[in-house]
């Protein structure tokens, strides 16, 4: 939990009311009893609630994106559909997509997904899976003191950005990776598999950067308003419709 709480030990104020009346949401800092050792308690942040889907990377140092994303069901469908039906993926992108798809976890009923703020050293739901809600003991709402100086500060809700924005960030990340490639052929081959287009399983899209950007905006719009995005993107083929109607 390094950016939020100190490594030397903090004293925090915990209230035991919110989890009993069900007022916890994603982004809250909670005190939980460790599922692996019931004598220990952990302080982690709730990332996703029941019913969400979570993608994550077990080893953030070697992965393309260290962020964990909360994915609504429709995106998972689209990603799976595109991986299965689009043969034009470059190896990099298909590896990325398969990594994300294989790490897609469904948070079952009555469970939450918790993670530490310091992804590199934290042992959390990425290791032991979704956590039963009954193990939550309280919500941390205030930090009272650090080890040598007393300082008050409220612990803020630090929610992950909305899935649409995160996906756009992913798209931008891909785009930056593409731009950094020196040789033209490599760039072309990577563009063919750029994620906004690979979400739409139509084959034969050309690889101009303008279209790639359009795909990113479309992906954002898909999250905000589905019908508008479909009209705007224009060229959505049959399997895309099936995937979207299955939402």
């Amino acid at each position: 939990m390094l950016p939020t709480l100190n490594i030397t030990g903090d004293v925090v104020l915990v209230e035991h009311l919110s989890h009993r009346i069900g007022k916890l949401g994603s982004g809250d800092l909670v005190l939980v009893r460790s599922p692996l050792d019931p004598n220990k308690t952990l302080t982690k942040r709730i990332v996703a609630m029941e019913g969400d889907r979570v993608t994550f990377s077990l080893d953030p140092t070697r992965s393309f994106s260290s962020r964990s994303l909360v994915v609504p069901q429709g995106f998972a469908l689209l990603m799976c559909a595109s991986r299965d039906s689009n043969p034009h993926h470059s190896t990099h992108m298909s590896a990325l997509l398969s990594e994300w798809n294989s790490a897609l976890m469904f948070v079952p009923k009555g469970h939450v997904w918790i993670q530490g703020d310091n992804l590199y050293v934290s042992r959390d739901s990425r290791h032991f899976g979704p956590l039963p809600y009954g193990l939550i003991e309280g919500k941390v709402f205030m930090r009272v003191s650090t080890a040598n100086s007393i300082a008050f500060g409220f612990v803020h809700k630090n929610k992950l950005k909305s899935p649409g924005l995160s996906f756009c960030a992913l798209g931008c990340g891909c785009w930056r990776a593409v731009r950094e490639q020196r040789s033209t052929e490599k760039r072309e081959s990577m563009l063919q598999g750029l994620c906004p287009h690979s979400w739409c399983p139509c084959s034969g899209l050309d690889s101009s950067p303008v279209l790639a950007f359009e795909g990113m905006v479309a992906a954002l719009l898909v999250y905000i308003e589905l019908p508008g995005a479909l009209l705007w993107h224009g060229s959505v083929c049959g399997s895309c419709w099936v995937a979207l109607l299955g939402l």
Binding site: R33, S34, P35, L36, D37, P38, N39, P108, K109, G110, H111, P132, Y133, G134, L135, I136
Partner: protein, 168 residues
């Protein structure tokens, strides 16, 4: 001016008794009713269709075992349901961390910090066979005695089935 001070004394006593009983029930022991027939030979042996809450068993749950979470095979425990934190179940521990438990379909290894619970009446019991191993942190106490129907007051003994569990 006798009445207000008497009232004040009664209120103070009620408050003190309330706080003490809340502390005792939270830290040491409490009495809970048992509903349903999932533990049928042990609790609620007669399954009557009329939901007569007076005939339900009342059991004593001790919570001192929660200080170190040491349980043994055959203990009857109260725990929060992993699917719904508002429900509490009473089941018997069949397997502890590190054991291999045989079910109808396969043999399950119980991970660290979990236990395998099953009801005594396996025909009508929702237990680890449907939701898997239960984290020990969800355990809220150990059932030691039956208290309420006066002719059934007794302590609960441990029952183990050796042939299903193999320690690793």
């Amino acid at each position: 001016m006798g009445t207000p001070s008497v009232l004040w004394n009664v209120a103070k006593k009620c408050f003190t008794v309330g706080v003490i009983s809340l502390t005792v029930s939270d830290l040491f022991a409490s009495i809970v009713p048992v509903r349903g027939a999932s533990m049928s030979p042990t609790f609620n042996p007669k399954t009557n269709s009329l939901l007569d809450s007076l005939s339900d068993d009342r059991v004593l749950v001790e919570k001192l075992c929660l200080s170190n979470y040491k349980f043994s095979h055959g203990d009857v425990i109260v725990f929060c349901s992993p699917d719904n934190h508002k429900e509490k179940h009473i089941k018997r521990i069949v397997g502890l961390p590190g054991d291999w438990v045989g079910t109808i379909y396969d043999v399950v290894h119980i991970p660290e910090g979990h236990c395998w619970v099953e009801g005594d009446n396996s025909a009508s019991s929702l237990d680890s066979r449907s939701f898997g191993p239960v984290p020990l942190g969800l355990v809220k106490g150990r059932v030691t005695h039956i208290l309420w129907p006066p002719h059934r007051v007794s302590s609960i003994e441990r029952k183990t089935s050796r042939n299903r569990v193999s320690p690793s």
